[in-house]
């Protein structure tokens, strides 16, 4: 079986809420010689991207999407090194769901991907006030805050975090990444809430954070 077949099978298992089946597919892939980083990059990532397309095409329900995403999180956990192996990290980042938002799955998955990619991730959890985001970011010297919101009204609460960062004169030092389902449905919301960037899914979070970190380095150097 080739890598693409594994990915297709994983997607099917995710959609069918077949948690055990998904675990078996990951284990089979590893047993067949696909190392965990390649499992993430070539089996899990394409499955997540395909899942997103199905969701956007209304081919699966909200509930199916949730369960499938949860299974993707399981699969990712199976591929991550225990205890972390990155001796030189990319830097510290702070993530959390903005105040009043309790949809944690996407945020957790982003946190796993970022950790796997070598970031020091400080996950503040759900329903996080703007002040708490900024306090933690300053405490750990984070260059990026990732604020997650699933829905439109809670996404608008991110504006308070934007205003707080700007009011403290930290716009050049701390970038604001925003994410969550609603930003995929309506990309214009990124600018509306003052986000410096977004990623379509957890797979793209690492590249987004690298880009934002490089902006900070450029702007601080100027």
């Amino acid at each position: 079986m080739n890598i693409a077949d594994f990915s297709d099978q994983l997607l099917t298992a995710m959609i069918n809420a077949d948690r055990a089946g998904a675990a078996d597919i990951i284990e089979c892939a590893v047993a067949a010689g696909v190392d965990p980083p390649r499992v993430i990059a070539h089996i899990l990532d394409p499955a997540i991207v395909s899942l997103g397309r199905l969701w956007e095409g209304e081919a699966i329900s909200l509930a199916q999407g949730f369960v499938a995403s949860k299974i993707a999180e399981d699969a990712l956990l199976r591929c991550l090194p225990v205890g972390g192996v990155h001796q030189h990290t990319k830097g510290a980042v702070v993530i959390g769901n903005i105040e009043d938002d309790f949809h944690s799955l996407g945020r957790r998955t982003v946190g796993l991907f970022l950790t796997a990619a070598g970031w020091d991730v400080y996950d503040l959890g759900n329903d996080v006030p703007a002040e708490q985001f900024l306090k933690k970011a300053l405490e750990v010297n984070a260059c990026v805050i990732g604020a997650s919101a699933m829905m439109q009204t809670t996404a608008l609460n991110i504006r308070r975090l934007r205003r707080l960062i700007d009011a403290r004169g930290l716009r050049d030092r701390i970038k604001l990444a925003v994410g969550g389902a609603v930003f995929n449905w309506r990309p214009e919301l990124v600018a509306e809430v003052g986000g410096d960037g977004t990623a379509h899914n957890a797979v793209g979070a690492d590249q987004l954070f690298i880009r934002l970190q490089s902006q900070v380095k450029r702007e601080v150097a100027q």
Partner: protein, 186 residues
Amino acid sequence: MEELHRLGLIRGELLFLDSMLHMYPPLLEATLTAALEHHDGQSGRLVLVYGDCSARMLDLVRRFRVGRVNVINCAQLLVGRDRYRLLMREGAFLVLPEWARRWEHLMSSELGLTRGVARELMGENRVVLVYLDTGLVPAPEQELAEFSSYTGLPWRVEAVTLDSMLAALLEAEAGARIEPDGQEMR
């Protein structure tokens, strides 16, 4: 809402859409838009009793200049923001009367879960089942006990008044556009 209407605490006509549209937010949005277009320009005030149930709910409010309850979902409408936050931090899975009656269908057919996977997922994400009891219908204790057994989570009944909902509805009504010929809440 029907009880508040019966008591004369809210006025106007109550219109309901299928609650299962929540499973398909774009379809909900399209159905809601069609309903709003149908009533647009008619006399009275229009109040949207929806939480953050689709990606463009606030756009609908702006486009049709309707009032909307300032909550993220129906459970928050019943218990209010502060209590809702505490329940979420507790890890509560909130159960409303309509959901309680259909829990088995929802878990197996809508979510496609087997009992084992459902039990795993619920146990990993939630701590307790909390039925929000308005007192308007008997608490479905048998169904709750079965759902508890199915998920492996303990359950409890929490009494709620209609005060938070009434306040949210009246606030939303006050924010709705008034057409010249009437003052109805829909």
